[in-house]
């Protein structure tokens, strides 16, 4: 495969988390982000940081929902946090129902976005803006008709449960969406890389 075109690395996770998805709750909404950004005194900065969400809102585009991993009912998914080697590791389940999307964009992780369940304390950053972070997307189910993902110029319509995509979301534009009848499930993992993360990247397969 052409290395220029290969915009991502893939590691295979093997484990059984299928039954855990029934406990999903859409408890991490974007209203929280907007509310926090509105606290910024600089309105232009607010608009710039919230541009992606505003675009969806202005065009009335339906976005995916997000929910925290519940360690009691989702022990397998919770294990991922300790495996990848990221500090301040945020683990969030993304659910794309029919018509839900995340349009073409690049990532930024302001500190107020980089939070999780109240029982997990994360370091507080001083600046709102880009930080040194990595983001991984772990596919939780096999791909079904109508489900799509794009990273750089790669348009993707094939994946299997356990495929974990690692790419530079700060640089490479990406998007995802679902127009099919079955929900698309993804585990989004974000955090600051450690030496353990570099070792994790050398692996081809992980059992959880």
């Amino acid at each position: 495969m052409n290395k220029e075109k290969m915009k991502f690395k893939m590691i295979k996770f093997r484990g059984n988390w299928k039954d855990e998805l029934q406990y999903y709750q859409a408890n991490f909404g974007r209203d929280y982000l907007t509310k926090t950004l509105k606290d910024l005194k600089d309105k232009n900065k607010w608009k710039k940081l919230n541009k992606h969400s505003l675009f969806h809102k202005n065009y009335n585009v339906n976005r995916n929902t997000r929910g925290f991993v519940d360690p009691k009912h989702m022990p397998t998914l919770e294990k991922v946090r300790g495996i990848v080697g990221l500090n301040d590791c945020q683990v969030v389940i993304l659910k794309y129902d029919q018509g839900q999307t995340n349009l073409y964009h690049r990532d930024y992780i302001p500190r107020h976005e980089h939070v999780e369940r109240p029982d997990i304390k994360l370091s507080v950053r001083k600046e709102v803006g880009l930080s040194n972070f990595e983001r991984l997307l772990l596919m939780l189910e096999d791909r079904k008709p109508g489900q799509y993902m794009q990273i750089g110029d790669r348009m993707i319509n094939k994946w299997q449960a356990g495929d974990c995509y690692i790419y530079n979301g700060k640089v490479d534009y990406h998007s995802a969406g679902n127009c099919g009848d079955h929900p698309r499930w993804v585990l989004r993992i974000t955090g600051e890389p450690t030496e353990k993360f570099n070792k994790f990247l050398k692996k081809k397969e992980i059992k959880i």
Binding site: H56, G99, L103, M155, N157, Y173, G180
Partner: protein, 105 residues
């Protein structure tokens, strides 16, 4: 042979056609791209993604094949979908059908 049916479609960001095998009672469905391809514009026929199309290109599928499309880009995607019985179709045929269709309406 039945008349050609033509749909003119603008797919704004986030809009989609769900996976379907509806050929409106015809044997074939041809997409005529009215705008050039942009990354994150998904068009899929029988599990195969179509990319890098140019304005004016036609892609035909037959009624055994499932199609779907989803626009995840920030640009609108314009295209026509023609449903027809003849194996081959030209832009001229589609324009003629569209004209007749508009006059009837």
């Amino acid at each position: 042979m039945k008349d050609i049916i033509v749909d003119v479609i603008t797919q704004t960001p986030g809009e989609f056609e769900k996976p379907s095998t509806s050929y409106k009672g015809r044997k074939y469905r041809s997409i005529i791209f009215l705008t050039d391809y942009a990354v994150a514009q998904f068009v899929e026929i029988n599990n195969k993604l179509i990319t890098k199309w140019k304005k004016g290109q036609i892609y035909t599928s037959n009624s055994n094949e499932e199609y779907a499309s989803l626009n995840l880009s920030l640009k609108a995607r314009n295209f026509m979908a023609a449903y027809h019985d003849s194996k081959k179709i030209t832009v001229k045929d589609i324009k003629k059908a569209l004209k007749t269709q508009c006059m009837i309406k």
